[in-house]
């Protein structure tokens, strides 16, 4: 097999602190992003453990309601902005240049900055938990007037959000600039791997949505400290206005988390089915339609605020419409498997689980989209189950799949397949024990974000908590597997997986520090997907 890059020992790379702090190398920054995301996954996860411990039994055993609320709030912010988004950006950093034949990201210094903002932003956010009055406790949605009751944590929360927004926007600009300017000759847009496509579309979502959030939280800041009343009815403002602003960001944000996952699964399934991706063009169009539609459905998060009936009808129809392109994607994945020659290594297992469990989350999403029924579902554990199905067994499973898929390319060694499979099965079982009973809790009438509950909810909460602890513990195994793989093992070939398509498999494993310093000459074979 031909490889397109020269060997590792020709590279001149900085060492030590200088290498990591001042890095402008897309692979090192990608690694930093991924390590940071994994760290935050555990920080946010330990908060989830506190939540599940408190909910294990009725009665208040471990924490005060105020602290419980701040756990709920900070868990969400960390998992969304600290774990899933940076993990996606990390993968984009590592893989996009390798997949399109570019030497690096288009704006390497900005790349460094957009990463190094993150640790500081989260230091700000997490420091609030140790302040008098505790961390932000009004939910990650930050609805006023409640969020305006936050104590000293308030400005820290707002500035942390601003920083996270700045970091994400810089990351998005970088990805767009890279993809539009640095593709190797012959890599036309409709030849790009789907992972690259989903990230381009995600980047546009980020650039369009995050400034809106920044505006919204700035209005909160001036409402609290500078006497404005954007959201204060007594001053002529409107508390619901914030919800419109927030969800105009918030709904596209959901797809910011989900679209890269779609991209990953669209890489992994064809590789292990040894068959081209079914309906490549329709996948690209479906992703784009989902992204565009995502700006027209925000008020389905607000069906109970008392919208005019015409508004409720519009947002119901638009929401239900999203099921069509999402359905197309699922059907395409199934059709890709159809008549393939499948093997079931860990990445494939996580991707198949993604297809099933994300679809289950999509089903409850469709149910939630039916406005009159949402009047019952809204703000209950049914919603909690829904978004954890799409975000944990959806987005996070896809990210796990991606790590197992590309880990040998990053480290040069194969991971322990047996442990990988154990990690998969334990994750699969525990996450379903964790989240499936929450559907029942919601239907039976348990609202979300409560620290204590009536005894009729006791049994399912206990089951859910056991699943939660099991899922949390299982992820320690993941860390072990990754570390073990980084330190050594069976040498990985350049083409790690027999059926894998794409340019990244034409460079050696581990991928050298610098790749594609001169544009590669692409053959027809390299452009298959």
């Amino acid at each position: 097999m031909s490889t397109l890059a020269h060997d590792d020992h020709h590279d001149h790379k900085p060492t030590g602190l200088k290498r990591w702090f001042f890095s402008t190398n897309h692979k090192d920054i990608g690694t930093l992003y991924l390590i940071f995301a994994l760290t935050m996954f555990f920080v946010g996860g330990s908060m989830a453990m506190i939540i599940r411990a408190e909910l294990f039994q009725p009665g208040l055993q471990f924490v005060d309601p105020q602290f419980y609320n701040s756990m709920v709030t900070v868990h969400a912010l960390i998992m969304i902005f600290g774990a899933v988004m940076p993990a996606g950006v990390g993968l984009a950093n590592w893989m996009i240049p390798l997949m399109i034949g570019a030497p690096d990201m288009a704006l390497p210094r900005m790349n460094n900055m957009s990463f190094w903002i993150l640790p500081f932003a989260f230091a700000l956010l997490i420091s609030t938990l140790f302040m008098e009055g505790g961390g932000p406790a009004g939910g990650w949605t930050m609805y006023p007037p409640l969020v305006l009751q936050t104590g000293n944590a308030f400005p820290f929360l707002i500035f942390a959000i601003h920083f996270l927004g700045v970091s994400s926007i810089m990351g998005a600009i970088n990805i767009i600039a890279t993809v539009f300017n640095m593709r190797a000759p012959g890599m036309t847009l409709m030849k790009m791997p789907l992972f690259v496509w989903t990230w381009v579309i995600t980047s546009f979502l980020l650039i369009a949505a995050l400034p809106v959030l920044a505006g919204g939280v700035t209005m909160l800041l001036t409402d609290k400290y500078f006497g404005t009343s954007f959201f204060d009815a007594a001053g002529g403002g409107d508390p619901v206005l914030f919800q419109h602003i927030f969800w105009f960001f918030g709904h596209p944000e959901v797809y910011i988390l989900a679209l890269p996952a779609f991209g990953i699964v669209s890489q992994v399934i064809p590789a292990f089915a040894r068959k081209p991706l079914f309906g490549y063009a329709s996948m690209v169009y479906a992703t784009a339609s989902i992204a565009i539609l995502s700006f027209f459905v925000w008020a389905h998060h607000m069906f109970t605020v008392g919208l005019p009936i015409k508004g409720e009808l519009f947002f119901m129809y638009a929401t239900m419409l999203i099921a069509v392109p999402t359905g197309v994607k699922v059907f395409n994945w199934v059709a890709t498997m159809w008549k393939g020659a499948m093997t079931f290594e860990t990445p494939m297992l996580f991707s198949i689980a993604f297809v099933i469990l994300f679809t289950i989350g999509g089903f409850s999403g469709l149910m939630l989209g039916i406005t009159p029924v949402d009047f019952q579902y809204h703000d209950t554990y049914f919603v909690v189950a829904h978004f954890h199905y799409v975000l944990l067994t959806g987005a996070v499973f896809a990210l796990m799949s991606a790590v197992y898929y590309w880990l040998p390319k990053w480290t040069g060694y194969m991971y322990d397949e047996r442990l990988g499979k154990i990690h998969f099965w334990l994750s699969l079982i525990s996450s379903n024990v964790l989240f499936f009973p929450q559907h029942f809790l919601g239907l039976a009438g348990m609202p979300r974000r409560i620290p204590d509950y009536n005894i009729q909810f006791a049994d399912f909460n206990a089951i859910s908590s056991i699943g939660g602890f099991a899922y949390g513990l299982t992820q320690l195994l993941f860390v072990y597997i990754v570390l073990k793989c980084a330190l050594g093992g069976k040498k990985a070939k350049p083409r790690v997986w027999e059926g894998a398509k794409g340019l990244e498999w034409y460079v050696p494993s581990p991928a050298p520090f610098h790749t594609f310093e001169t544009p590669p000459k692409l053959t027809k074979e390299m452009l298959e997907h």
Binding site: L146, T304, V324
Partner: protein, 408 residues
């Protein structure tokens, strides 16, 4: 997992346990949405069931095809992968079928939504106001107001490490001191609003929840068809007491309802006229403890210590100790201060007198003070010392008005 029988058998055991759990669960626990007791709640229930079956059938079809493929199209069976990668016909079909299903679901949903939106011709209107952390109900046609707070038993049990097992009380966190009483077979309009932050009024048996937003009034309706007690709770995070503001609707016949209204009016008349009541210190302390548990414990805690940085302590607070601050103490309860809501309307003179007496003589606040209802009654007519002079807000408001007049 091939070739590891030990692992396989333990895996089967886990799977078996998981399969059996839901079976017993179905028998014992509530798994599904309630059908409720209104025509609308029943329609919502059937729409929920229809959509649940639709997605279940789609799921079974799609996943069956997928699993069939997983079992048959695997490399280990010596299959050679086909290389097809698109089919316009198939893609058109699987775009149109979901579209048709969605339209079929949207039509009845639209009809139901239009029906729910029509609050006209309601016989009775009740306004529910969410307040951190209780509900206030105004029967607008009767001129009757009641406050509904978490019951004392739940409040006590729910204290952190109370040592009391919640499993003993069936309606733990789902009971209030005073339920809202509504007649059956009558179209009732329920307005929702809030005094401080956003809350949401939700009784699953009525079929809907609706946000209660300060400065907004949302309207909804229900016709309850069965006598009974229906329980729900606040559904929008509203601060540390969010889990502690239940809603209890007692549905009775029209005759019982009319009777309840007249009794309630007489009772409130008596309650509003307590300024001449004189109680002993022991009586005030007992009554005050009851009021404290119902109204104050959520923020100031059973220990009177509050929560540092969020809710100020009463134990050792100058307002609750110093003799000069007696009026301030009473007025702070009447008018509220900062995050603390005003209780002047909700609590009678004797309630306030007893809770002030209680807090001035508990947790080391040994003032020995005895406050009688008369003192509270007088405090209501005296100038407000809480906002007097030093209130920044008052200054700002005044400043704005002065400036506006100047500009004119």
């Amino acid at each position: 997992m091939k070739g590891n029988p030990k692992l396989k058998s333990s895996f089967h055991k886990i799977l078996l346990a998981l399969l059996l759990t839901p079976l017993t669960a179905i028998a014992e626990w509530g798994l599904n949405m309630t059908q409720g007791v209104t025509p609308i709640s029943r329609e919502i229930y059937s729409m929920h069931m229809v959509s649940l079956w639709v997605v279940t059938v789609i799921g079974i079809v799609v996943f069956s095809i997928m699993f069939w493929s997983i079992f048959h199209h695997r490399k280990s069976k010596g299959v050679k992968a086909a290389q097809f990668s698109h089919s316009t016909t198939v893609e058109i079909i699987w775009t149109i079928i979901p579209l048709a299903i969605i339209i079929a679901l949207a039509i009845p949903a639209t009809k139901l939504l239009i029906k729910m939106d029509d609050t006209s011709e309601a016989k009775i209107t009740v306004k529910a106001t969410g307040i951190q952390w209780k509900w206030k109900y105004d029967y607008l046609d009767e001129g009757l107001t009641i406050y509904s707070v978490l019951d004392n038993n739940s409040a006590e049990v729910s204290q952190r490490n109370s040592g009391i097992d919640p499993m003993q009380s069936e309606n733990y966190l789902r009971d209030v001191d005073e339920a809202i009483v509504l007649p059956i077979n009558t179209k009732i309009r329920i307005l929702t609003t809030a005094a401080d932050v956003i809350h949401a009024w939700w009784v699953p048996d009525l079929g809907w929840k609706r946000d209660a937003i300060p400065g907004f009034i949302n309207d909804n309706w229900a016709i309850i068809e069965k006598v009974g007690v229906y329980r729900g709770q606040c559904a929008e995070i509203c601060g540390s007491g969010h889990g502690y503001m239940p809603i209890v609707v007692k549905a009775v016949t029209m005759d019982d309802y009319t009777e309840w209204v007249s009794e309630k009016k007489i009772e409130q008349e008596a309650k509003n006229n307590t300024k001449d009541m004189v109680l002993t210190k022991a009586e005030l302390m007992t009554k005050g403890e009851g009021v404290y548990k119902a109204q104050c414990i959520a923020c100031h805690q059973a220990t009177g210590e509050g929560i540092k940085g969020v809710f100020p302590a009463i134990a050792g607070s100058s307002v609750a100790i110093e003799a000069d601050n007696r009026l301030r103490h009473v007025q702070q309860i009447i008018y509220g201060k900062g995050l603390m809501p005003a209780f002047g309307e909700q609590l009678s003179d004797v309630d306030i007198a007893s809770v002030v007496t209680f807090t001035r003589n508990s947790w080391g606040n040994n003032t020995g003070d005895v406050i009688q209802a008369k003192e509270v009654s007088e405090a209501r007519t005296k100038p407000n010392v809480i906002t007097a002079g030093d209130s920044k807000k008052e200054k700002i408001a005044k400043g704005n008005i002065d400036e506006l007049t100047k500009a004119r």
